[in-house]
């Protein structure tokens, strides 16, 4: 980016950026209202489903003695997976000094916050007696992966929120002072509180950079742990399909696939809806496409390990499980997920054409849906083969199919995640204005009315 020299030009560019990026915050049209109306409707329906479930117990779900983890846990794993992209983009890319990542890092953080928050919620929804969640604190066992998982989810959520908030401060300070943008008063009042009296002096910037750096370093082990520990919930059992040593990295790799595709879709939505073509450029899609193909390849590598090696040996129990996936009742889902959801996207995105915004978004949507089904395939088929004598139990204990209540509650989780993202997008700029300005060589400090301190 060639630096813009004259302060006047700089100011002009900055004003334009600020104007463009605050449109989502200002915009209040029919479509927005309708969208929020839809979200609220679905959230209400979902909560109603949850009330029924609390009232009548988990019997209203398809879960029984053998398959005791159903769609909810698949959702949980999916949400944790998607949230991991926050750490990859806003920390790893940042620390590697890959500059295009800055433009998408707030999008990634939005997704991370929404997804990890809902991961926590869906776990509580999976409990017949949600009040017993507190037992984790009263009777939790330190040796249990469940405790580790709860700890790491809470920690990751906190870090994600902070990592979303910190880079927001300079932007908020700038928007708080601008009256000509048409930002509603209450939002500006909110900015005023949240911007902590930011003046943009050197000492503040130094502290901000320092804090962000600490978080970015911290989120790497925490981010890796969150999905590794989630995988241990499975891998620390003896069940075929879960009893494997590579489940941790396998989950992490799969998580990047799901998260990267989610980021691409959201970028595209913002670009289209808010006319941000100049900010989410074709270049960014191209780079995200390359990232997606890279993580897909890593995931493919793990998939080959995960299925080829046990498939070669076909140990008794493992064999039954694998045959069920390869040729049995789950084979169509399995092969669709592997071929259409993984191999085909890799083959396509390698070509530049498919890294253009629209084709890439469509491919990402397919990948994301496949990622959800992949989680379903990880959780349920294994449970349907408990390798215990399944005797004298009703037929429907042996197979699992989600009920309409489960589907309603699942829908709730997704809609609630979308609602969180929508609210964040309506409250705060979707790209860090000051980082963008900095990238363009504009010195915000010089342009603010404050006397220079540095």
């Amino acid at each position: 980016m060639n630096a813009i020299k004259s302060p006047k030009d700089q100011k002009k560019v900055l004003d334009k950026i600020t104007f463009d990026l605050t449109r989502p915050i200002v915009k209040r049209d029919e479509l927005t209202r309708f969208w929020f109306f839809l979200l609220i409707m679905f959230v209400i329906v979902g909560l109603w489903g949850w009330i029924i479930q609390i009232d009548r117990g988990l019997g209203v779900t398809g879960m029984r003695d053998y398959v005791s983890w159903g769609m909810y846990i698949a959702n949980f794993v999916f949400f944790v997976a998607v949230s991991l992209i926050g750490f990859l983009i806003s920390s790893a890319l940042h620390l590697l000094k890959i500059s295009w990542g800055k433009a998408v890092s707030r999008v990634a953080e939005q997704i991370a916050i929404a997804a990890v928050a809902l991961a926590g919620v869906i776990i509580v929804m999976d409990m017949g007696r949600p009040d017993r969640f507190l037992n984790i604190f009263f009777h939790g066992r330190f040796a249990s992966p469940i405790i580790w998982d709860v700890s790491v989810v809470v920690t990751y959520l906190t870090i994600s929120v902070l990592l979303f908030y910190l880079p927001l401060i300079p932007d908020l300070a700038m928007l708080r002072d601008k009256e000509d943008l048409g930002i509603p008063k209450w939002k500006r009042r909110l900015y005023k509180t949240l911007s902590l009296g930011w003046k943009g002096n050197a000492a503040q910037f130094k502290t901000l950079y320092h804090a962000m750096r600490v978080l970015m370093l911290l989120i790497i082990p925490v981010g890796l742990s969150i999905h590794t520990v989630t995988s241990w919930l499975f891998a620390s059992t003896l069940r075929s399909g879960w009893d494997t040593t590579i489940l941790g990295p396998y989950f992490v790799a799969g998580a990047f696939v799901a998260g990267a595709s989610a980021v691409i879709i959201l970028m595209y939505v913002y670009r289209l809806r808010y006319g941000l073509k100049e900010y989410f450029k074709d270049y960014h899609f191209d780079q995200m496409g390359k990232l997606l193909v890279f993580v897909c390849l890593v995931y493919l590598y793990f998939n080959i390990n995960e299925f080829l090696v046990p498939g070669y040996k076909m140990k008794t129990a493992e064999g039954i499980h694998l045959i069920e996936l390869f040729k049995g009742g789950y084979s169509s889902m399995f092969w669709l997920v592997q071929v259409v959801g993984l191999v085909l996207p890799i083959v396509l995105i390698v070509f530049k054409f498919f890294r253009k915004p629209l084709p890439l978004t469509i491919i990402s949507a397919v990948v994301l849906v496949a990622a959800w089904f992949k989680r379903y395939l990880i959780v349920i088929p294994t449970l349907e083969h408990p390798f215990l004598p399944v005797q004298n139990v009703p037929e429907h204990f042996q197979h699992y199919a989600p009920t309409s209540i489960e589907i309603t509650i699942t829908l709730f989780a997704f809609v609630a995640a979308l609602a969180i993202i929508s609210i964040l997008a309506k409250l705060f700029p979707v790209i860090a204005i000051w980082e963008l300005a900095e990238e363009k060589g504009i010195d915000i400090n010089q342009l603010t009315e404050e006397p220079k301190i540095n």
């Binding site: 002096n201 502290t207 804090a211 978080l215």
Partner: protein
């Protein structure tokens, strides 16, 4: 032509008949005609009854009460005509093989015992003289004590005669059971002498708790109305010295058997991460302070 129509008509009739009876459970003749090798004696019928109560009653209900579970099709009562339309061989086959909701018992009940269950069902066959007769119940009373030194249980049984007077109950079995969380398990039985007394030697193979104690319940046959006698904390058994698998500190242990390294690692990581978070929060406070300068 006329013949042809008649032929078609008859065929249709036969088919519809077969269809309407597709629910019926037919057993091949050679299987149905197998004779029951287990003789029809009170002992076999009783054994069959015991097995029935344990394995079948939950679905088929009590004999003669028509209180089967409402399954589809409804499991027939053991006294029903439908049940007794079966030959003994057919009954045996159906119990062995099962169909639909009716489970198979080939793998869980031995062949001899399956025949004894047939003996029991045949007790209700109108063609047979019933061996199980429902006599009116007799009131009885049990007294008992534990001889811990000799590891014996001594029982005194009495019954109430027509005039309401308690008399010694001779030549009657009493059952010695061990009390369990969900009911009792029979250890053995003894028969009373002419004085109504019975002595039961607890076998050495019976294992109690860590101190060798068990809770003994003394009970009687179904045809007596009796308050079962509970003798608690009887130290008559071998102590249970089985190694407790949970004693050792293992990776997946409970909190009181946690491996220290695990606790230390967990706390170090969790506390470390949260200290860093608090540090960042502190930086945020600092930013605010710097803004005021």
């Amino acid at each position: 032509m006329r013949n042809l129509i008649r032929y078609i008509f008859i065929t249709l009739l036969v088919f519809s008949f077969l269809n309407s009876n597709s629910q019926e459970w037919v057993v091949a003749d050679d299987i149905a005609s197998i004779q029951n090798p287990s003789p029809y004696t009170l002992q076999n019928v009783n054994k069959g009854k015991e097995l029935y109560l344990k394995n079948c009653k939950s679905c088929h209900g009590d004999a003669g009460k028509n209180n089967a579970l409402p399954l589809v099709p409804i499991p027939p009562d053991v006294t029903s005509a439908q049940m007794h339309a079966n030959s003994e061989g057919a009954l045996f086959h159906k119990i062995t093989a099962g169909r639909g909701t009716m489970p198979q018992f080939e793998t869980s009940i031995s062949e001899d015992d399956r025949w004894r269950i047939v003996n029991y069902i045949m007790n209700f066959n109108p063609a047979n003289e019933p061996l199980l007769v429902d006599a009116p119940k007799i009131n009885a009373k049990l007294l008992g004590s534990v001889n811990e030194a000799e590891k014996k249980v001594e029982v005194l049984a009495e019954f109430q005669d027509k005039d309401g007077i308690y008399k010694k109950l001779a030549n009657t079995p009493v059952f010695i059971n061990s009390k369990k969380t969900f009911g009792k398990i029979k250890i053995g039985q003894a028969t009373t002498d002419e004085n109504g007394r019975a002595v039961y030697q607890i076998p050495e193979t019976v294992v109690g708790d860590a101190e060798g104690k068990i809770d003994i319940i003394i009970s009687m046959e179904d045809n007596y109305t009796v308050n079962e006698l509970l003798l608690e904390n009887a130290k008559v058994c071998a102590p249970n010295v089985a190694e407790n698998l949970f004693d050792e500190a293992v990776l997946w242990g409970t909190n009181d058997r946690l491996q220290p390294w695990l606790l230390v690692s967990y706390l170090a990581i969790a506390v470390g991460a949260w200290l860093a978070i608090f540090y960042v929060v502190f930086q945020i406070v600092k930013i605010k302070r710097l803004g005021k300068e």
